[in-house]
Amino acid sequence: MTSQKLILGIPSKGRLMEQTADYFAARGLAMVKTGHERGYRGAIEGLDGVELAYLSAAEIARHLQLGRIHLGVTGEDLVREHIPDADERCDFLARLGFGKADVVVAAPEWWIDVASVADLEEAASLFYRHHGRRLRVATKYMNLTRRFFAEKGFVSYRIVESLGATEGTPAAQTAEVIVDITTTGTTLRANHLKVLGEGVILRSEACLIASRLAEWSPASQAAETEIRNRLAL
C-alpha cells in the first residue's frame, strides 16, 4: 500500500469480472482500466481515492486475509476456504446477488443406502473393513470439508485434493465422494452423482468484503464510506 488510496480487489476475468463491473456501474460507479487495457490496475470514475486491483478470485481472498487490499469482491466460498477465521479478519459488507453457487457433498447416485451426510460414517467404516482404506473425498475445498465433516461426526475419510473436474473423480476411481460447487446440479447428474441430504456446506455468492487487517487511513475510510453510500449499504 504505497498510496493513501483505498484499494479495491476486483475479479480479473470471466463472468465474475463482468457482473462485478455491471453491479457497480448500475449504482453509478463506472470502473475503468488505467494504463494498458490488459493491465491489472483500474479506477472508479469520479472517485479519486479508490484504486482497483484486478486479481484472481482466490488471490482476492488471500489479499483480504493479509490486509493487502481494503475491500474485495469475491466468492464467499473462497473466503471461507482460505481464511479459517474469516469473521475475525473480514467484514462481509454485502451479498451481491450474482456468482451464486452451492458447495455440496455429493456421492454416486447408486449408493441407495446413503441418503444423507449422517449415513457416510457407517458406510465409510464398512468400506474400511472391506477395502482396508478410508473413503476418499475429492475436493478443492479442503478446509471447508474438514470443518463440515467434523461438525457432522464424519471422520473415516481422507481428502484427495482435486484442482479440476472433481465431478469426474468417482467414475475415474480416484475418489468415492466429492465436495464441489454446483449451480443447477446438471453436471452432477450427468456424472451420476447426487447431493446428499444435509449436504449443503455453504450457499455461496459474490460478496463485497472489507479486510480488518488493512491499513485504514482517514482517506481510505472516507473512500469506503463513499462506496458504501453509492451502493446504498
Partner: protein
C-alpha cells in the same frame, strides 16, 4: 516455540535427563522412532481432534507422510517391527519432538512443535499390574522433575463397553454407539435416533426394498439390489461394491423391524456418562446403576476394584484423584483405563501428562489382535513452564 533460547533448551534437556533416568531405572529401554511417519496409520486411528492438526504432505513418490503428532503409534511400530507376533513383553521410553498445528496466535503452552517424553508398555498380560506400573513411573518422573500439587483425572472405557454389552441392545447398535462415543454430539444424536422409530431410508422405494430383503440370503439380497439399480437405469461405478450396499440395506431392514431403544436404556446410558467423583464413590455408583438395571458388569467392575487395589499397593495416592465416566473421549485408540495428570485451575496449560490402555491399536496397525498395551506421555514444555511458575 521449541527451546528458542539457549537457556530454555538447557532447561528442557536437564529436565529430560531426569525424566529419562526414572524411565531407565524402571526398566524402560530408550527408543528413537522416526519423525516422518506414514500418514494413513495416524489419520485412521488418532481421532479428529489431532487428525485435523497433523502436518501431512506427499513426497515425490506420491507417498503420504506426516510429521508425527504423537509418539505412541511410532513406538508401536517399532515394537511390531522387532516382534511381529507381539508375544513378548517390551518396555520403551522416548523423548522427542511431535508436531501439531495450532490455530490462532502463537502460545508457548500450545507450541506446534513440542517434545513428548513418555513410556509404552507392551504385552503385559496382568493389565491392572501394568496400569499401576505405568501410572506410578510417570508420577515418579514428574516428581523427579520437581512437579508438585498435581491431581489425577481417571476414566475407564472398559466400563462403558461392559455397560453396553450388558444391556439389551442389538450388536450393530452397540457398535454404532461405541463408534460415536468419541464425539459426544454424534453420540447423543445416534442415541436419540436409536430411541425413535427408525427411518433410515427416506426414499420409499429403497425403504420397501430394504424391508423385503431376506437377512438369511445375503447373495439373494445382493442380486435384488443389483436388479433394483438396473430397473432404475442407475449405473454402478467406483470402488464401493454391491455387497457393501446390500449389507447396509440389510442392516436398515433389520433396524426397521427392531423395537427402538427403550427410554430406560437411553436414560441408563446417559446417567452412566454423568457419573463422576472419587474412585471409590464411582465404584459404588456404577455398581448400584448396574444392579438396578440388572446389567452384569461383573468382570469390568472386578478389574476396576483390582486396579484400585494395585494403585494402593504401589503407593499411588488417590485422595486427589477424580474419576469421570465420560473422561477418555479425546483419543480414539484408548480402550480401557485412561488418566491425565493436571495442575488444577490452569486449563490446557495444566494438562501435564496423560495416558491409557490401547489394546486395539497394535491390531489396527497390522499386529495380532488383543495385544495388551498401555502408555503415557509428558508434555515437557508445559511441565517446564509449570515448574517455572512454582519456583
Amino acid at each position: 516455540m521449541t527451546a528458542e533460547s539457549a537457556a530454555r533448551f538447557e532447561a528442557l534437556e536437564d529436565q529430560a535427563e531426569r525424566i529419562m533416568g526414572v524411565f531407565a531405572r524402571a526398566g524402560y529401554e530408550r527408543v528413537a522412532p522416526s519423525i516422518l511417519q506414514p500418514a494413513d496409520i495416524f489419520l485412521d486411528r488418532i481421532g479428529e481432534a489431532i487428525r485435523s492438526r497433523t502436518y501431512i504432505f506427499t513426497d515425490p513418490d506420491g507417498q503420504e507422510l506426516c510429521l508425527r503428532p504423537d509418539l505412541t503409534i511410532p513406538a508401536c511400530r517399532i515394537y511390531l517391527e522387532r516382534n511381529p507376533k507381539a508375544n513378548r513383553e517390551a518396555r520403551y521410553a522416548y523423548n522427542g519432538p511431535a508436531f501439531r498445528y495450532q490455530q490462532g496466535k502463537p502460545d508457548p503452552l500450545r507450541p506446534r512443535e513440542f517434545r513428548q517424553a513418555g513410556i509404552e508398555c507392551f504385552g503385559v498380560a496382568d493389565r491392572e499390574q501394568a496400569e499401576a506400573e505405568v501410572l506410578g513411573v510417570i508420577m515418579e518422573a514428574l516428581r523427579s522433575a520437581g512437579l508438585r500439587g498435581f491431581v489425577l483425572r481417571l476414566g475407564d472405557l472398559g466400563l462403558f463397553r461392559a455397560l453396553l454389552d450388558a444391556l439389551p441392545i442389538p450388536a450393530r447398535w452397540r457398535e454404532r454407539l461405541r463408534h460415536s462415543f468419541w464425539r459426544p454430539e454424534s453420540f447423543h444424536a445416534v442415541l436419540q435416533r436409536l430411541a425413535a422409530p427408525p427411518n433410515p431410508l427416506p426414499d420409499p422405494e429403497v425403504a420397501a426394498l430394504a424391508r423385503d430383503l431376506d437377512p438369511n440370503d445375503v447373495d439373494g439380497a445382493e442380486k435384488r439390489v443389483g436388479d433394483f439399480l438396473d430397473a432404475g437405469g442407475i449405473p454402478v461405478m467406483g470402488a464401493r461394491t454391491l455387497s457393501e450396499i446390500a449389507a447396509r440395506l440389510l442392516a436398515a431392514g433389520a433396524d426397521m423391524r427392531e423395537h427402538p431403544l427403550s427410554g430406560d436404556v437411553v436414560r441408563l446410558i446417559e446417567t452412566y456418562l454423568t457419573i463422576a467423583g472419587s474412585p471409590e464413590t464411582v465404584l459404588r455408583d456404577v455398581s448400584r446403576l448396574a444392579s438396578e438395571a440388572k446389567a452384569d458388569m461383573g468382570e469390568a467392575l472386578d478389574r476396576y476394584s483390582a486396579r484400585l487395589e494395585r494403585f494402593r499397593k504401589a503407593g499411588i495416592g488417590l485422595h486427589h484423584a477424580r474419576f469421570a465416566a465420560d473422561f477418555g473421549r479425546q483419543l480414539e485408540y484408548y480402550t480401557g483405563f485412561v488418566f491425565q495428570i493436571e495442575l488444577p485451575g490452569q486449563g490446557v496449560a495444566g494438562q501435564i501428562a496423560g495416558g491409557g490402555r490401547y489394546d486395539g491399536l497394535l491390531a489396527a496397525i497390522g499386529g495380532p489382535a488383543g495385544t495388551p498395551a498401555i502408555g503415557s506421555a509428558i508434555h515437557t514444555e508445559r511441565l517446564l513452564a509449570a515448574r517455572g511458575e512454582a519456583a
